[in-house]
Symmetry: C2
Subunit: 228 residues, 2 copies
Amino acid sequence: MSDPREPIASRRGIPEATVARLPVYHRVLGELVDAGIAMVSSEELAAASGVTSAKLRKDLSHLGSYGTRGVGYDTAYLVYQIARELGLTQDWPVVIVGVGNLGHALANYGGFASRGFRVVGLVDADPSRVGEKINAGPSGEAVEVRPLAELEDVVAEGEACIGVIATPAGAAQQVCDRLVRAGVTSILNFAPAVLATPPGIELRKVDLATELQILAFHEQRRSNEVTA
Amino acid sequence: MSDPREPIASRRGIPEATVARLPVYHRVLGELVDAGIAMVSSEELAAASGVTSAKLRKDLSHLGSYGTRGVGYDTAYLVYQIARELGLTQDWPVVIVGVGNLGHALANYGGFASRGFRVVGLVDADPSRVGEKINAGPSGEAVEVRPLAELEDVVAEGEACIGVIATPAGAAQQVCDRLVRAGVTSILNFAPAVLATPPGIELRKVDLATELQILAFHEQRRSNEVTA
DNA sequence: AGATGTGAACCAATTCACAGCA
DNA sequence: TGCTGTGAATTGGTTCACATCT
């Protein structure tokens, strides 16, 4: 086992596909730790994470050599290593733009506050929603909805580096541009719109309709195969 | 141009990566049609979809040869071909389990009803939510929330083949099992839990916390690089 | 001429299978 | 002995560059 205090995350080039799975391993390991399970094999952890053991070991090998041959992984140790790699040992200020149905759900989402993300600002274009206080997470205090015009101030005051867009599609690009100009460097987009960002901005999207349409494709394929 | 009435979707093996992008092309093309734009080049459509033109052409080539060399694509024709491939020419009955913040947002989400998905059932474990009528989409009539115990009936009555899980993590696997036993063959999971399904069941997940953690990883990498 | 459709080359990710170590 | 960590092989996806067709 290597020294837990070493620099970390300084090695370059963890594959994107691996990064996308680390949060799952992190969550599952947390559950194991909570359950009082101290050691786990790659086989067990992989099964609990819904991947193959070869994939799991390859993924973990990109972080370092944190297991013990013939034994397995120390859950508490590994969960910390992954947290450190993901940057979950600090907390990240987040601004949510759009407090409709979805924005509301996001703001209230427990996973936010509990996993190192702090909702430091809520913004909405609808004057009737401005002023509303939303309890942003279990440990989070109430956050007041501010008018869209103050978006830049909200980002600056909260020193937010992550922005969440939960507006209608038509407003998304403009909101995105303003978030970027205000200093946000990572954006999570829930609006069904393709966003353009300057290079260096990290952009991810979650699209409900897209996910359902992918399922529909497979459903249709299924029914075609039966009748083929 | 080939005959629009040919069998379709019968060719095998459209790559998953392509399938995942078709919904974007479909949405963008719909916007072009609405804007009265009848023809579009791969270059233009790619730019509007946030991909390269080579990727777009390769993707479309898997569906067939629907463009005209030297000219481009007929937007109305192409949007229909993609809709057909995705199975959007019929509509798919969906059951949503869990009508908390997120489930509510999903049920109200306009994109549902407007893109060929019909919410035929809402289920919740909380007795205080049962009986509530939720307006599931613009064209969708009000749908009543039914108790969790009736999940199987709701699936059967609505002949739902797609299930959406928006419950707490702890309930997700059990709900998943019951959906599958009731006849659902595709599942979209919003709960932060790894679900096991029998082979043949199409399972996709959307995880808020995961998306944010991926962004956090890149934010941290960014700050490390600056100080490196 | 000009844009599509596609083989070939390239790159990323997964899987295999086993060497290496506790 | 048993499980991790990892080269090698394979598979899947992207990019290139151009032949093909309107």
